[in-house]
């Protein structure tokens, strides 16, 4: 199924349909992760691959063009059609040959299962007091890595802002201060349902955030779900209304605050006499300290991810709105 979906991506020419199919593909791969007993990963892939990524792509599409151009040169030269195929199949054969050396699927004796991991599985329960091993590795044992990831996301948010944001029309007003013309106001049913649904989504995001130690979840997923609730609000009630609730300026500060919470937790550990991100010193009992540290760090990650995702969405759709306004400005 997965292969078929991916294949169809090649043949479908309409860009819009490709994006739909891509959303399907993400959903399928999330199901695949689930069947391989990785609920944390499936949660992330579902909310990001099937939710955020297609929305962003649609935003780009709205900014560029709806259809992939009907190719003017219908007959490409044979060489340019064959060359990629040859390169791809050669690489594929080489990679499949390489898998022959790999340990069999689900083999308990494979080297990947026998080095650091048994220690994590045996000790993490006693050392951090948190049942979800994925969370404890993410926030505690591999804390530096996750700090790096948070910074990468922050940097990507900044990059998109630098490329697309900070726009003004010369009168000193930024792009988001214009009146909104296009929204789904006239869909009354959607209006009411969203009003019921959005608090539910926010509540669920908080559940995923703070229950992440006991069940699949954590800062990354919660941040995305939180952002998705606001995106739904913006989609239904118009960007203008969403900006009133969550101004882009506030979001920019929140991006910074999220990263600072993470980094600050580390500095706090330094001040209290431990190593950087060594949570044991945060409380009299090391286990308790670990718990506090992990919750703080997850909170930082959640805030960062949520605000970056919202910023991304607002930037793209604000830009799209602006291009429409420009056209209408020409018209009047």
């Amino acid at each position: 199924m997965l292969v078929a979906t991916a294949l169809s991506c090649i043949f479908v020419r309409d860009l819009f349909a490709v994006i739909m199919v891509f959303g399907l593909y993400s959903l399928l791969s999330a199901g695949f992760f689930l069947s391989l007993k990785a609920p944390d990963v499936a949660l992330t892939e579902a909310s990001i691959g099937a939710g955020i990524a297609p929305i962003l792509m649609l935003g780009t599409l709205a900014l560029t063009r709806k259809r992939s151009e009907p190719q003017p040169r219908a007959k490409k030269s044979l060489r340019s059609a064959l060359l990629p195929l040859v390169v791809v199949s050669l690489t594929g054969v080489a990679l499949i040959y390489a898998t022959l050396d790999m340990p069999y699927f689900a083999d308990p004796a494979a080297p990947i299962h026998n080095h650091v991991v048994p220690r994590y599985i045996e000790q993490s329960g006693q050392e951090t007091g948190i049942p979800n091993i994925v969370t404890s590795i993410l926030a505690s044992y591999r804390g530096y890595d996750t700090l790096g990831e948070a910074f990468v996301i922050f940097a990507a948010g900044l990059g998109v802002l630098a490329l697309l944001g900070f726009l003004s029309d010369g009168s000193g007003r930024e792009y988001w201060q214009f009146e909104d013309t296009a929204n789904l106001r006239h869909h009354a049913v959607l209006h009411v349902i969203s009003k019921i649904l959005i608090p539910l989504i926010l509540l669920y995001a908080l559940y995923v955030q703070f229950h992440g130690e006991y069940s699949p979840g954590g800062g990354f997923q919660a941040g995305v779900i939180f952002a998705v609730a606001f995106i739904l609000y913006a989609l239904v009630y118009g960007l203008e209304a969403a900006y009133k609730i969550m101004s882009p300026v506030v979001l920019r500060y929140m991006m910074v605050i999220g990263v600072l919470i993470y980094g600050g937790t580390g500095v706090l550990c330094l001040i209290l006499g431990g190593h950087y991100l060594e949570y044991g010193v945060l409380s009299d009992y090391p286990k308790h300290g670990q718990h506090i540290g992990i919750i703080l760090v997850e909170l930082g990650v959640g805030v960062t991810v949520a605000s970056v995702m919202m910023t991304l969405f607002f930037t793209f759709s604000g830009r799209a709105k602006r291009s429409v306004l420009k056209k209408q400005g020409v018209e009047t």
């Binding site: 990785a38 990679l95 590795i137 990507a156």
Partner: protein, 118 residues
């Protein structure tokens, strides 16, 4: 037979990877290229998660009475990789928008032509 079943998951990942790679280099549309890149990325995720699977392993959340857990380390790596992946995708899409504004097209051939004429 054990060879086929033992390595089947890896092969699926490889095939997906090659499909993504093909879309990446063969199609001229920039958005489609990004989708190809994403498929490539997902295939790597699938490879990692397949490696983490243990026969009879339970979900990596500590419960009473379970002995074998699925390997949690690849899960952690992939979890963060997905989020970072979407962030970089967004960056790439932003670049596409700027390219469209600068060149008036998102087809690779057109862009090359314009570059040549400048």
């Amino acid at each position: 037979m054990t060879l086929v079943f033992g390595l089947f998951n890896y092969w699926v990942a490889m095939v997906l990877m090659m499909i993504g790679f093909y879309i990446l280099i063969a199609s001229g549309n920039l958005i489609k290229k990004i989708i190809g890149l994403n498929i490539f990325q997902t295939s790597v995720f699938i490879l990692y998660i397949s490696m983490g699977k243990i026969k009879g392993g339970a979900v990596p959340i500590l419960t009473e009475g379970t002995e074998i857990y699925t390997n949690p380390l690849p899960h952690v790596l992939i979890l963060t990789a997905i989020v970072v992946g979407v962030a970089t995708t967004a960056l790439a899409l932003a670049l596409v928008v700027r390219i469209k504004e600068a060149y008036g097209s998102i087809e690779e051939d057109d862009i090359h032509e314009k570059d040549g004429s400048l």
